[in-house]
Symmetry: C2
Subunit: 149 residues, 2 copies
């Protein structure tokens, strides 16, 4: 149990570091650096359609599209991050917020929920499942794009 | 490593069983049986507003409301279930589908993405984080309530 606890603490630290570096890569719009944190077969539930998408090839396309839709720098913040980590399996969840201006001039200040699920593969933590979403308003059927924590 | 692998296989089996029993409890509209699978401090990202909700007291209220909004039996199915499990931490994700008739006569056939994150606490697997959502359509801003896998 002592060994288990020791490794769990190590794992939690590693996930904090990986999540931090992942966020920096996003903020720097470094698509390949972001993708390096994902398993090639990642199963993604994304904020926008479709229901499910798979794999880093598709992630690369979508990420490139999304990041290049911002005019210059976008602010990106992860808050309320909670991590639970074992020896080989970990998950973390929190709120992501992006503030920026789109190339068409539209100003964005949007918050979404993000869950990242990790597996340690050949010594490196990789995201094998990601779930990002906003809830919807039951009365209107509209996605709730302006909620803040 | 052999001991690790053996325990991982056990854990995966336990999560399959727990997820199966959780689904049966939902199908039977047995609120307390459903809630028994959650940690009392569970952090929930739900399909509908708000952004975040916490704890089994709130879950009980929302679940009771939701389940009693159906007229009689509702069909409930979990598909594409994938599980990754370690000794004390596990996660699973899949697609949930519900088919039924609301008490107001409206027919429902809806699919959503579900991620359940588990921790083994005092020998029992408990859901400490759940994330359920539908994506939205970027053109219309509407939640995509009619997508099927």
């Amino acid at each position: 149990m002592a060994a288990e606890t020791k490794q769990t603490i190590d794992s939690t630290g590693e996930i904090i570091e990986s999540t931090g570096k992942w966020a920096i890569a996003l903020r720097e719009k470094d698509v390949e650096a972001v993708i390096s944190y994902y398993d090639s077969d990642v199963v993604m539930f994304d904020v926008v359609d479709p229901l499910v998408s798979n794999g880093t090839d598709l992630l690369r396309t979508r990420l490139t599209e999304w990041l290049s839709s911002f005019d210059g720098h976008m602010g990106f913040e992860v808050s309320d991050l909670k991590i639970e980590a074992g020896n080989y399996i970990a998950f973390c969840h929190g709120l992501n917020r992006v503030i920026g201006t789109k190339v068409d001039g539209v100003k964005i200040d949007m918050c979404w929920r993000a869950t990242l699920c990790w597996r340690k593969i050949d010594g490196d933590w990789k995201i094998t499942h990601s779930h990002a979403s906003v809830p919807f308003n039951m009365e209107t059927g509209m996605a709730s794009l302006d909620l803040k924590p």
